[in-house]
Symmetry: C2
Subunit: 317 residues, 2 copies
């Protein structure tokens, strides 16, 4: 479904609309990990997250008729901003269903791009039900946050850029929520860095992907973690790709996530959101896996309420 | 005193020991400023601040006899870490006099590089008195944080790198405390980007440089600001350079500093310390000066206690 040409074409398509983000290194983080880490900084991406890639790739492929009716999605935050921004760039309307618990900074982001927000309860059922209503009313095209091949191909371009810059990676590790970034990362790795092992990191409080890998079929889990971007479960399009291409999923606790986030803020002087800290926490936790290795880490985003983050740090002391 | 060759030689000398830091841009910050901003990110520098440059340039020029006796300095923080790190890299001892009010993160930094800390009261008299004692006891060479041409030439290399990357800047703005960074920046500008106007930004609570420019002679001021790296006054070596080369000094309040710091954290996803936010605050405050212009901003460092930053953001709401 997603070929190397799909990813390269997506990259050419979205390139005028996204940042080529830097790959950062840190002697302090390398020392903690006992290996060489290469951070793909999607926290510096447009809208502050990799989601700008997939959303742009999907919206750019709509027909004129589809554009006229607008786009719709449900999202806990970064995808919502990304859809709103993509729609604004093309002059079309965006209808965004968001859980009422989404961080204020992410809601402000959507509003800043002119997206129309519909708040709902923070459950998958409530999101999907409200989205159906909105689409019935507007005729908008749904752009799913992850269970969509155009979105996955767009997310794959982050790892593509990483491999264009850094060669000979032993491991690449990405966070997993719905699996869009992880699927894209794994397909990019297959085509552009086939010697690199694909690992994933997941919050222990939302470990459906970990359980699904163990049982070989889609599993559900609770969705309870500070990593608010990773509370969704794998979809029917992402699960097979993850199962086939991902070697290992490492789960981490909220406490480990906060500690990893603090290390990155203090040592690298960059702001990452809790979801971005999940793969960092996995690297610091599963030391033996990464020691002496060259590991690429996809830092997925940087959208976090500052007061909230600093409260987490205080509580983590 | 400081020629173009001095700066280029300093750059070649320290290059193996420092980061070439990135120059970042931000559509969000440009929008706030109404002009094009180019941020030289010395918050990503070794020890988290530009001070790594000047300290390394000075320590590398010590004689073998001087190296044997070690180095000493007094500093509120970043220079202290920079001296300790430079000394460690060359295998020599570092004696650091620090005010007891220096941020804990900066003290931990000095200790992490094996520097020996001597705490004193947070006054210039107390610092100088204790430093004299330490030097009398050890025979160490003092490396002053700013009133030293080798240190200034090292600091000049940040602006040199900026001009190697970004041309046609209308303005460059740096924070001013003792004037080491500002002197270096102004000399680099004279030689490598002579069309660029040199401006400075200073906390209103420690505005000795602003007053000195007005009166034409060294003035003293209170030293009361959250920008803890900028509480010192110009020295007899930095004052003449500043007076000759700096067109304007803009003062900003602590409230303006906190607001600017928050904007940079939120919009750029990078961590800067209050002293770094001073020139950003000046750009946002004196809008007419910068509107429609291309301005380089030296972000001097990123060493801030995260809990302290939280308190500042909360109080600034």
């Amino acid at each position: 479904m997603i070929t190397s040409a799909t990813i390269l074409t997506a990259h050419a398509r979205i390139r005028p609309y996204i940042h080529r983000t830097p790959v950062m290194t840190s002697a302090g983080m390398d020392q903690l990990a006992g290996g060489s880490l290469f951070f793909k900084c999607e926290n510096f991406q447009k809208v502050g997250a990799f989601k700008a890639r997939g959303a742009m790739n999907a919206v750019l492929q709509l027909t004129p008729e589809q554009r006229a009716a607008g786009v719709a999605t449900h999202s806990s935050g970064n995808h919502a901003q990304a859809i709103a921004r993509s729609a604004k760039l093309l002059g079309i309307r965006a209808y965004i269903v968001m859980p009422r618990t989404a961080p204020a900074v992410k809601k402000r982001g959507v509003e800043g791009f002119g997206g129309e927000i519909f708040e709902c309860e923070p459950t998958l059922e409530a999101r999907e039900s409200m989205l159906r209503d909105v689409i019935a009313r507007t005729g908008a095209t749904e752009i799913h946050p992850f269970n969509n091949y155009d979105v996955m191909a767009g997310q794959a371009t982050a790892a593509l850029e990483l491999y264009q810059e850094i060669t000979d990676l032993d491991i690449v590790i990405a966070p997993v929520g719905g699996g869009g970034l992880l699927s894209g990362t794994s397909m990019a790795t297959r085509y552009f860095s086939p010697r690199t092992a694909v690992l994933a990191a997941e919050p222990a409080g939302a470990d459906d992907a970990y359980r699904s890998m163990l049982s070989g079929q889609p599993e559900v889990s609770q969705a309870n973690s500070i990593a608010d971007g990773l509370l969704t479960s794998l979809g029917d399009k992402t699960f097979p790709i993850v199962r086939e291409n991902v070697q290992q999923i490492i789960t981490v606790t909220d406490e480990e996530i906060v500690q990893a986030m603090r290390q990155v803020w203090e040592k690298m002087k960059i702001i990452i959101e809790p979801s971005s800290a999940v793969p960092v926490a996995a690297v610091l936790k599963a030391g033996d896996v990464f020691r002496g290795k060259r590991t690429g880490i996809i830092l997925s985003g940087g959208n976090v309420d500052l007061e909230r983050a600093l409260q987490l740090f205080q509580a983590g002391r």
